[in-house]
Amino acid sequence: MVCLGAVAATLPSPLRAQLARLGSVHPTPRPGITGGKVATAEMLDGDKGLTELFDNVRNIPQVVDGIRCHCGCADLHGHYSLLTCYEGANAMARICPICQGEGRVAVRMAKAGKSLADIRIAIDAQYG
């Protein structure tokens, strides 16, 4: 598990304190992780918007696997990362706006060339 300690140390102290209170701890991306289990268009009943989001998440498993989901599902048995929210026919991200929002932030920022550390900060700031 990785924390934001190194990044947070560079922030002004009030902000540092705020982040500390958020208690954000993100998972470490698993070596060799793939998006092979991410729900497909068929599983998503052809929902265009969701299919686009899930397809985009499938393309960046090494990023999404390094992000903690803040909707509460992170504490469920068998949950590892935000990627878990997108896996399988009953993927929580089908219905959860937080899982979806975090995924969209990750996809947008990854496409813009942002690092995993930057993406984590943005997600913690908004959903943490």
């Binding site: 009030p14 705020q18 209170r21 706006p97 929002g101 932030v105 943005a122 700031a125 908004q126 959903y127």
Partner: protein, 306 residues
């Protein structure tokens, strides 16, 4: 109170009964003082009070009688001592109370100033009447023996809630004891002026939806120790709002009660994660994007003047 004594004896005897039998017995009978749990969340801090509720049962006077004697260390409830559970630290009537669960006791007085004892050793029976000890957190609370209305059943409530805390009230008959508490704010609207200066200025807005031709400008200023923003023309819902920093160059919106903005008033709602501003500096000019919970872009702005 005699019933409560008998209940205590019964409870003690039940300790000998196999544990598996206790829940069904405990839940399947009428109790003179039924159990209640009441909670209040303020800014993510949850305060929970659990207590058994004695009834007057025809008594005209309770306090200052054999039921509750003056000077007695009394738990405001029946059966096992009332508990107060705080999932984050709070400040109760000016006294810090760390996260934890406490037995609640009060030193009952005929005047309006009572002392409440929070006992980290919770779960005592009401007859324990613990003497004030070093382990107790001692808090001065207000007691009013002539409340306007009468409560037949001892009642805890949270009659007022603000952005920063709430009031806890305990009332039985016409005796009403109240105490205010504050929570530790999750976010601060304060920001040093030196850090805030880079965001100040006028930002003409470009709507994400090209069909939206609304012409408006976001104006960011520094006041009362923090960043304030408003839309021009004025948005009657947003009015002047606080920009609350939640990450490096990332802000959310704190809404004020209308008249309180420039009186350093309280924020009554924070729009995270629904309304997020992310600033970037491009070619020496500050710009921002506003996105919602689902990361959809609402609008953006680019500074024209500092």
């Amino acid at each position: 109170m005699r019933h409560a004594v008998l209940l205590g004896m019964l409870s003690a005897s039940l300790a000998l009964v196999p544990i598996a039998l206790v829940p069904s017995i405990a839940h399947a009978q009428i109790r003179a003082s039924e159990l209640q749990t009441i909670s209040q969340i303020v800014d993510g801090t949850k305060v929970t009070i659990t207590y058994s509720r004695p009834r007057l049962r025809g008594r005209d006077v309770v306090f200052g009688t054999r039921a509750v004697r003056w000077g007695e260390v009394w738990t405001p409830g029946a059966n096992y001592a009332t508990t107060l559970d705080v999932d984050k630290a709070i400040t109760l009537s000016g006294t810090p109370v760390p996260k934890g669960k406490y037995g609640v006791w009060m030193i009952v007085q005929p005047d309006s100033t009572w002392t409440m004892l929070l006992d980290p050793v919770w779960g005592l029976f009401h007859e324990a009447h613990p003497k004030p000890a070093d382990r107790h957190i001692k808090i001065t609370v207000r007691a009013d023996s002539s409340a306007n209305s009468s409560e037949d059943v001892l009642t805890f409530s949270f009659p007022s809630v603000t952005s920063r805390g709430a009031t806890i009230a305990m009332q039985w008959h016409r005796m009403r004891v109240t105490m205010d508490y504050t929570v530790e704010p999750t976010l601060s609207e304060l920001m040093p002026e030196a850090e805030a200066s880079r965001y100040l200025g006028r930002y003409p807005i470009k709507q994400a939806n090209a069909a939206d031709t609304t012409q408006s400008t976001l104006i960011i200023t520094y006041a009362n120790g923090g960043l304030k923003a408003r839309l021009e023309p004025e948005d009657t819902y947003m009015q002047t709002f606080a920009l609350m920093r939640v990450g490096p160059d990332i802000f959310t919106v704190g809404l004020y009660m209308a008249a309180e903005v420039f009186a350093a008033g309280e924020i009554y709602e924070v729009l995270r994660p629904d309304y997020m501003l992310t600033f970037t500096e491009v070619d020496g000019r500050m710009q921002f994007q506003v996105r919602g919970k689902n990361d959809w872009l609402y609008f953006s702005g680019r500074r024209t003047s500092p």
